[in-house]
Point group: C2
Chain length 476, copies 2
């Protein structure tokens, strides 16, 4: 049960895998590159889904389900799209004991199959906007895989919308990026930078791709959500037109946007410590674990009775577990729940019982807070709120402390050779300047951030004048 | 929008497809045999999931996610299992642009991959029981497909549990069948017969299979949920043992159980009428649709204002939609919402406004109930409860009226040649007697029902004395 976790400073990558094993979040599957999401990991994903799904529905989207299998020919209809995805596809060639006439691709993303259906459903401007989302599995053949971050099969949601004007599509693309930002910051307590991707980094088939980028504790960037303005590319490829209010036929405008189980990896690497994962209270499947401390059977009965009563008091407001397991020391239990990331521990021993108090222990700071059992619900709520806020603040400090503004190419290289972080530097939108940086430093342009004032100056590589700065960092 | 629906008496099978099209529940996908679940259908499935998932969690199960791809060799480890599923498999032979060393099967069901993982996780009796469930897509290569009932890919949940004793596994198998019965009857308002499958009809790899069977309006049976006691078959195939309390190693005992999107087909064929689907209130994504009736702009403003206020009164308790669309007559709107199966329509015109009343119209009976706006929430709740009950009663009457007890083989054949229904007849558990009936009548043994008293007598076919009766019917 209790697993040894490699310290972050020793080997961040091993720390990450150790935390996943210790928290029983996921496991490697028999097929190389595939992942099993264990109950602790899946309960977390269910909470991600619930929060996001609520936000999608608030913004007018409906869920649907499109097929897993896509005819190979569909993928080829959009030139950039097939170039981006064909090398990553899993292909079904046999079904029902026979070789298929046309191979089927296991969806790597569903633009093509969805736009083939939109063609059947969209006739006039009255049918627009069409705002859909699906929760599903997708497959991309990856050679270098890591649990949650990059696996052959993963779970995600993909929104697909159809609009009557370019402006509406752009608004939708930005609206959903903002939904992702809010989810990352307000729920995951993970600060992000919102921005637009460069031409080189955008989605295969998109006109513009926006992303949110977060800094992990190893100072690398993790792309945590993307939202694409697809223009009329897929409408043209699948011949989807609508009759506008003036009676003319026009191609439909499209967006797509997605986040995946990769966010669980992001959560681990944003908040985890050398004891394991730390769950932000707003997404934790269990908020409080109540642990009895006793010697002998008499004490046990007394403490447990009181602790169960306290559990009942807390459980209408919080998800609570009382750890009644016998044969384990309190210390072992503390450690076990720390590895599982439960935000708040509630301890009670005979002395607490006498004083009519419990001791709250914060998972994030280890702070011990003795509190009377009167008004406990409010105190627990306050402490959980404080944990949520302080996780965010801590992550934000890390990001700010490890972000630099640099104007000299060699300074950038030197910074990225060190512990690294985010470089705000000027870079023109040409493939060659981006490639040069990547070759030399392994870092890429994460995005052109929204919230920066204009700051014209020369491109780090070619010296051409550009309007402002991009974020450069090594990424996952 | 408004589709013509073939009457049930004219062609039940076309009626079924028409209802799905009219309700915008699902559509055919470009790949033959695959299905797109449209937002109206998916919202329904989400409600099925929510209710079932709650019942699974109440009975101690946790959700997890196992991979889509299963090495072909895994499927072959359990002899009966591979025989049952191999002919239906979709096979991935290429990935990432290369031919794979070992082909991967797209899961038709997940026993094999899950037991490969259970081997890693189960060590001693302390790890048992292990109670897992997953919601996912599965693929079975079907040649004759029908929307929801039988499609190449479908959505389902599959529970998989591991136990320390045969008794516990049997209890679990029966417990989950009972969960399915409760869901079918209490939520779907669909009466079912619970029973055990014959040797010939049981799941490939199971020791015993239980099922719930419902009668559709065409008097055919639909298997609506199955629960399997897998004995130690998969534990032996995957070498999964545990150390019992006496320190001995034993093979683990297993169950699996599942229901699928097929239940949406069952719902349609149980309650639908010639106007379309009828949704039981407990599963309806929309409970009430409020429709304003007016002439001219002045009336429109007055009626709409009042109706929106009424919508706000109802919406904390019910899912409500106010149909404010312009350019459609009230009659057209009635018909549109009837096709979508919304259980209750709330009409308000100028005369109702003057009388401070609305008219409730039941989707199932068409009954019109004028009610004052005071205490409306309670009246709506009563009417919705009445609809839920009366859908169940109506379906139960149909089943009872079309069930017969027969002792003579020729009577059975004649009954099944007519409009048909459920025959309670005696049949021994031999493959040949079942085959004879099936060849002659196309009917099969649906199950050996639980709730029948012993009733010994001769097998319909061979005359051998058996203990009681089985249910024989044509099935989907």
């Amino acid at each position: 049960m209790l697993e040894k976790i490699t310290p972050r400073t020793e080997d961040f990558s091993r720390w990450y895998t150790d935390v996943i094993a210790a928290g029983q979040l996921a496991d490697y599957a028999p097929v190389k590159g595939c992942m099993v999401i264990r109950p602790n990991g899946f309960a977390l994903w269910e909470n991600f889904q619930r929060a996001l799904d609520g936000m999608f529905k608030e913004t007018g989207h409906e869920n649907a389900y499109f097929p897993l299998f896509i005819p190979e020919s569909f993928l080829k209809k959009e030139a950039e799209h097939v170039e981006g995805f064909a090398p990553e596809c899993a292909v079904v060639t046999h079904g029902g004991g026979k070789e298929l006439e046309e191979p089927l691709v296991v969806r790597p993303t569903s633009e093509t199959i969805i736009w083939a259906m939109f063609r059947k459903w969209i006739e006039s401007y009255r049918d627009l906007p069409l705002l859909m989302n699906q929760w599903c599995n997708v497959v991309r053949w990856e050679m270098r895989t890591r649990l949650f971050l990059r696996t052959l099969e993963f779970l995600w949601q993909e929104g697909h919308t159809a609009h009557g004007t370019a402006e509406e599509a752009e608004e939708e693309t930005r609206r959903m990026l903002e939904v992702y930002r809010r989810f990352a910051e307000d729920w995951m307590a993970m600060p992000v930078i919102s921005g637009i991707k460069t031409e080189r980094e955008k989605f295969a088939g998109a006109v513009r791709t926006y992303s949110i980028e977060a800094m992990m504790q190893d100072r690398k960037a993790l792309q945590s959500g993307t939202s694409h303005n697809l223009g009329q590319n897929f409408a043209r490829a699948f011949d989807v037109t609508f009759q506008n209010e003036r009676g003319e036929r026009e191609f439909v405008w499209a967006t797509s946007w997605g986040v995946s189980t990769r966010l669980i990896g992001a959560l681990i690497m944003t908040h985890g410590d050398d004891k394991g994962i730390i769950l932000p209270p707003k997404l934790a499947p269990t908020h409080c674990v109540l642990i009895p401390i006793y010697k002998g059977e008499d004490q046990r009965a007394l403490v447990l009775e009181r602790l169960e009563a306290i559990g009942n008091t807390l459980s209408p407001d919080f998800k609570v577990k009382v750890d009644k397991r016998e044969g384990y020391t309190p210390g072992w239990k503390f450690y076990d729940w720390e590895q599982k990331g439960v935000p708040l521990r509630v301890e009670m021993g005979p002395r607490d019982l006498a004083k009519n108090q419990v001791v709250l222990v914060r998972r994030d700071t280890g702070e011990k807070i003795p509190v009377g059992t009167e008004g406990l619900v409010d105190r627990v709520r306050d402490v959980l709120d404080a944990i949520q806020r302080s996780l965010f603040e801590k992550a934000r400090s890390l990001m700010l402390q490890n972000s630099v503004t640099l104007d000299d190419y060699l300074d950038v290289v030197r910074f990225l050779e060190g512990p690294g972080g985010f470089v705000y530097g000027r870079l023109c939108n040409s493939f060659s300047c981006e490639e040069k940086i990547q070759e030399e430093t392994k870092a890429t342009v994460r995005c052109i951030p929204f919230d920066r004032p204009p700051d014209p100056g020369p491109c780090l590589v070619c010296g051409k004048t550009v309007d402002g700065r991009v974020v450069i960092a090594k990424g996952y």
